[in-house]
Amino acid sequence: MAHVVVENLSKIYERGKVRALWNVNFSVEKGEFLVLIGLSGSGKSTLLRCINRLVEPTSGRVFLNGLELTRLSPRAMRRVRRRIGMIFQQFNLVKRATVLQNVLAGRLGYTSTLPSLLGWFPKRDIQRAKECLERVGLLDKMYVRADQLSGGQQQRVGIARALMQEPELLLADEPVSALDPATSHSVMQYIEQINKEDGVTVIASLHFLSLARRYGQRILALRAGEVVFDGPPEAIDDRKFKEIYGEEAEEVEIR
């Protein structure tokens, strides 16, 4: 059984009547690294957010391990979200909080409400947070405010926060779009490592096709909310490329 299954997923934003997703179907195997590509506004972010229901789909179904997420109550959905890590284009860290607090926030779903409101986390969670920070090479920045870090470092904190959730699935919404090329590779390598070593399924949206080719095992291309390509990176030739990005587009290399 496939790990994530998306069936006939559609999302129409009521305001402005924008058709963000239209009849999207695909499935992802356990441990796969799937890359979403497409122009800005093609529905990549919406698709990712429909999987963990940060955005409510208009119709269609999403399954995780055979469990239909689109039918869950908000409470049950929160329990499922604990196992779905997510990292963002703008990192979405709490800027005024320390790195450690940001990483610990990844544990909120597992912590009971009252202690967490008072800022108490179990000892083993704090230990875990240190391990996660060590893994992304930021243990020495533990007590630094998040806004003091560089972009690449902030995204690594984001990865550590996702790791705290012990995820089985990692959603990455343009994780390197706000970073320079060298830092982009460093961040992508951390994500790849999580995918290879921990066997975490990754669905990542990427801007650059070269990055998608380098890291993706499989590529799913969206255009105006519809799937226009689903297959291995090698299968994207010049003709396919133009179909995804439009006739005017030219491929840009990023190394």
Binding site: R81, A97, A105, T113, S116, L171
Partner: protein, 434 residues
């Protein structure tokens, strides 16, 4: 049916009359109380305050009422004219020439009766106009209808419907703009401004000679100002501390209430029909309550719980709650939604999202606003004291009423010192927080 309406009307009149009777009774009771129990300086201060309030009513209310009335008149005329011209009910206001005309004609009528609507409401008659004023009226009122002529003349490329309503129906590019000093409209604008200014000076009775002619009468006052009564310093300091505590108590109690309400008054957190209703109710009552000045709240509470610092604290508290609620809520509305989304994605519940996604982003602005409000409250605490809210302001009003200017000067010095230092302190702290 007729009898039904008559009944309703009778009810409304009776209600209004009862309200009026009650207000008069309250007023008389207050005066009677003062006459019976107040000792002379307090009585004098109170009489002074009452006279001041009455004068305020006469000076402030009529112009406000007149303005409101004129505004409505303008709006109604606008709608009527645009309906007549275009056949549509449009809310576009008429061009200013029309407003000047409306004001001019109304003003002329009012001056003929020597009564404006606002003055009628407060039942006050103006003193008879001086010959000079009459001349001014006679000269200027007929000028106002002239503005209409310019409205008729100035119609470059405009259809009749357009120049009646000032609606530009043609494309913006087609009409050639003219330099303002080349158009009759521009000249009339300057003339109108001049006339308004002259009228304003006449109405507010600006008389620069008074500075000189009445100076010797204030000599006693000036002398007192430069010889503060130093023996009042001890009492003044005690009252100062009381005033400071009024501000502290009012702020301290207002903060938790305002903070709790602000989450319910933040648009981005209140999604869905029922929360949105709550949001609207809070915002509307908030802005209504805020529009009533702290001084007025102090008067209300001075009557309700008796004069003294408690009334002052209540007034400051009420005003602080609604003011802070708005400031806090706007801060919440301005947060970065990213962290909220990220915390939600980890499977946190609503309270946890609030604690980890929202609060860290707002805590510093909240502290900053609280200090700012405390700063305002310290200043307001003296002012609400003037109208019966206790603290140093109350004593100050009393001295002023008793013509004890040396003592009043001492207190004023202390107030200035306190306000200045609090201002400096809170500015420094807020700087650090930013």
């Amino acid at each position: 049916m007729k009898r039904f309406w008559a009944k309703i009307r009778a009810g409304v009149w009776a209600g209004a009359a009862a309200l009026r009777r009650r207000a008069t009774a309250l007023w008389e009771a207050g005066r009677g109380f003062l006459r019976a129990y107040g000792w002379p300086p307090l009585r004098r201060a109170a009489e002074f305050l009452l006279a001041w309030l009455k004068a305020l009513r006469i000076r402030v209310l009529p112009p406000l009422l007149d303005l409101v009335f004129l505004g409505y008149l303008w709006l109604a005329t606008s709608i009527a004219v645009s309906f007549a011209a275009t056949g549509r009910v449009a809310y576009t206001l008429l061009s200013w020439e029309w407003f000047v005309l409306v004001v001019g004609v109304t003003g002329a009528l009012w001056s003929a009766w020597d009564q404006t609507l606002g003055l009628k409401v407060v039942r006050h008659r103006l003193s008879p106009a001086s010959p000079g004023m009459r001349l001014l009226y006679a000269l200027f009122w007929p000028l106002f209808p002239l503005t209409l002529v310019t409205a008729l003349v100035d119609r470059e490329g405009r259809s009749p419907a357009e120049w009646f309503t000032d609606l530009r129906l043609v494309e913006a590019g087609e009409a050639r703009p003219r330099r303002w000093y080349r158009s009759p409209t521009g000249w009339l604008a300057v003339l109108g401004l001049g006339v308004s200014l002259a009228a304003a000076v006449a109405v507010t009775r600006v008389d620069l000679r008074a500075f000189v002619t009445r100076f010797e009468k204030t000599l006693k006052f000036w002398r007192a100002i430069f010889s503060p009564a130093w023996d009042q310093a001890g009492l003044g300091l005690k009252l100062l501390v009381e005033t400071l505590f009024m501000a502290v108590v009012a702020t301290a109690f207002a903060v938790p209430v305002a903070a709790a309400l602000s989450f319910l008054a933040a648009r981005n957190l209140m999604r869905g029909p029922l929360p949105r209703l709550l949001y609207t109710v809070l915002r509307v009552t908030g802005s209504f309550t805020r529009s009533i000045d702290a001084i007025i709240w102090a008067i209300i509470f001075a009557v309700w719980v008796g004069t003294g610092s408690f009334a002052g604290v209540l007034a400051l508290f009420v005003h602080s709650v609604v003011d802070l609620m708005k400031l806090y809520a706007e801060q919440i509305e301005a947060i970065d939604p990213g962290p909220v989304e990220a915390i939600t994605a980890t499977g946190a519940n609503r309270l946890q999202v609030l604690r980890y996604g929202v609060i860290p982003q707002i805590i510093n602005p909240f502290i900053s606003f609280t200090l700012y409000r405390w700063d305002i409250n310290v200043r307001m605490a003296t002012v609400v004291g003037l109208v019966g809210g206790g603290g140093i302001g109350f004593r100050l009003a009393w001295y002023l009423g008793a013509y004890a200017f040396s003592e009043a000067t001492m207190l004023t010095l202390l107030i200035v010192l306190m306000v200045w230092s609090i201002d400096w302190l809170s500015a420094r702290i807020r700087e650090k927080l930013a």
